[in-house]
Assembly symmetry: C2
Homo-oligomer: 271 residues x 2
C-alpha cells in the first residue's frame, strides 16, 4: 500500500483503538509494507498528534515491541477547554429554581461530553484504572467518554434494582444535601473483586452520592484510584465528605435574584 493511504488508515486505527498495543509485524502484514516504512509512518503520525495536542504514539522496542496511541490533552489545552466551559456555564439563563444550574444541553452534546472525557482521561492517564464507575443518570455520558479514551469498560450504579441484571449488592446512604436515606445497587456480576476504579459524575455538592459509591465499591473490594466530577458546588468545607477528587469547574455563587452565576476553575487547574 502507498504511504499516503497507509497514513490515513493508520491514523484511523489509532484514533479508533486508543491504548491498544500492536506489534509492528501486525501492521507490516496488514499493509504489506516493510517495518522501516511503517516506522517512518509512525514518526509522521506521532509528530502530527503531538503538534495538534491529541496525545502521542508510545513505542516499545525489542522482541515484543510495538506501538500504541495514548490520547492525552496537554495541560494547556485542558485549561483552555475549562475556560470555555466556564464562560458557557456563567450564562444567567441557566439558573433554575432552587439555585441549580441547567447543564443538560452540555451533557447532551456528544462532542462536549467527549472533550470533557478527554480532559479527565488525560488527568488520570498515569493511574492503573480497570473500570469507570458512575451513577445513573447524568454522569453516564461522561463516564463512557472517559472510558473510551482509557480503553476500559463502564459500570453503572443504579438507584433502583432491576430484575434484568441478576443478583446485586445494595447499600443505603445519606444524601449530603437533602439528608434523605437513599439506596444504591450494583449487580454482582458487573465488577470483579479488587478492581481499580475511577468514579465519574457530573456534579458534587457535599459529596454524599460519591461517598455512597465508595461505600458500595468497598463491598466489591475495589480500589478507588481516581474521582472526577465535572462541576462541584461551593460547599462548607466541613460538610464535604469526599476529599480526594478532581473537578473541572467550581460553581461558587448562584444568585437567583440578581440573575448572576460565578463559575471558577475546579481543582484540576491546581494539579
Amino acid at each position: 500500500m502507498k504511504r499516503s493511504n497507509r497514513l490515513v488508515s493508520l491514523t484511523n486505527f489509532f484514533l479508533e483503538n486508543p491504548r491498544e498495543h500492536r506489534q509492528l509485524p501486525y501492521f507490516a502484514d496488514v499493509y504489506e509494507s516493510s517495518k522501516s516504512s511503517l516506522s517512518e509512518d509512525l514518526d509522521i503520525i506521532n509528530e502530527v498528534f503531538q503538534r495538534e495536542e491529541l496525545g502521542f504514539l508510545e513505542r516499545t522496542s525489542g522482541a515484543s515491541g510495538g506501538v500504541r496511541y495514548i490520547p492525552e490533552f496537554s495541560r494547556e489545552k485542558s485549561i483552555q477547554f475549562i475556560q470555555e466551559l466556564r464562560r458557557k456555564l456563567e450564562d444567567p439563563s441557566r439558573i433554575l429554581p432552587g439555585g441549580y444550574l441547567y447543564m443538560s444541553d452540555i451533557l447532551g452534546d456528544p462532542g462536549q461530553t467527549r472533550e470533557i472525557g478527554r480532559v479527565f482521561a488525560s488527568a488520570f492517564a498515569r493511574q492503573p484504572i480497570d473500570v469507570i464507575v458512575t451513577v445513573a443518570t447524568k454522569g453516564i455520558a461522561l463516564a463512557y467518554a472517559v472510558a473510551s479514551f482509557l480503553d476500559v469498560p463502564v459500570v453503572i450504579v443504579r438507584r433502583d434494582p432491576k430484575v434484568t441484571e441478576g443478583s446485586s449488592v445494595s447499600i443505603n446512604y445519606v444524601s449530603g444535601s437533602s439528608r434523605k436515606i437513599q439506596t444504591m445497587v450494583l449487580p454482582k456480576r458487573s465488577l470483579k473483586e479488587g478492581a481499580n476504579v475511577c468514579i465519574i459524575d457530573d456534579f458534587m455538592k457535599a459529596g454524599g452520592t460519591i461517598t455512597g459509591m465508595i461505600n458500595l465499591l468497598e463491598e466489591f473490594d475495589a480500589n478507588v484510584k481516581a474521582i472526577g466530577v465535572l462541576a462541584e458546588a461551593d460547599d462548607d468545607e466541613e460538610d464535604r465528605v469526599v476529599e480526594e477528587y478532581t473537578s473541572l469547574v467550581k460553581i461558587t455563587n448562584v444568585d437567583m435574584r440578581r440573575k448572576y452565576i460565578e463559575v471558577h476553575p475546579g481543582n484540576f487547574t491546581d494539579r
Copy 2:
C-alpha cells in the same frame, strides 16, 4: 504543510467531526496549501474510508462548496457485526432468572456501544434527525453513540422528575410486560417543539416503554422519524404496540432449564 502531515491531520478532523461541513478555503487556510493539493488529499482519504467501509467524504462544488464526512457502515459490514453480536448473546451463562439476558458487559463496553451506534447511524443516515431520545438507563450509551455519528444532541427521558432540570412534562403509561402504570418525564427546556426525533433503546418486548416515549414526545409536537432497539424479544405479535422500528437482534427463545438461548438477526437485515 507536507501532504503526509496534512493527511494525518485531515483524517483526524473528519473522524472527530462527522457530518460537519467545511469549505475548502477553510482547510487551505489552516494548512497553507493550494486547493488542488487539498482536493487530492480528499481523494486519498475518501478512497481509504470507502475501502475500509468507514463511510465517505461528500463533496459539493460551487461557491459554497466544500466537504463533509458521512460515517456509514456498508450493509455487509453491519450484518457481519450483527452476526458477531448474536454469537456473543447466545452464550448460556447470560441467562438470568425470569428468562432475562445479561447484556451489561456489551452495553458497558465503549467500543461495542460505538459500533452498535455506527450500525444505527448508518441505517438512519438518510432521515432528517435533529435529536436522539432515549430513556434512562441502559440505552443511554447507545443513544450517545448514534448521536456522535449523526452529529446531533441526546435527550434523556427519566422515570423520576429531578429538581435540577426545571419545569417538565410528564405522562403516565402502562408498561407492556408488567402492566404497571409508570411515569416518564422530560424537562420542557430539553426539546424544541416540532423536532425530528430518533428513539434509541437497548431492549423492547411488547413495546410499552417506547409507546410511552412516543406519547411523551407528542406533547412536544415531535416527529418520530426512526426507532432503533438493540434487541427485541419475541412477543405475541398482537401484543406488540410499536410497529415501525429497527432491531439488530431478536431473542426468540430463552430456555432456563436447558440453558439454551436462541438469537436471530433483527428486522435490520430485512431492510
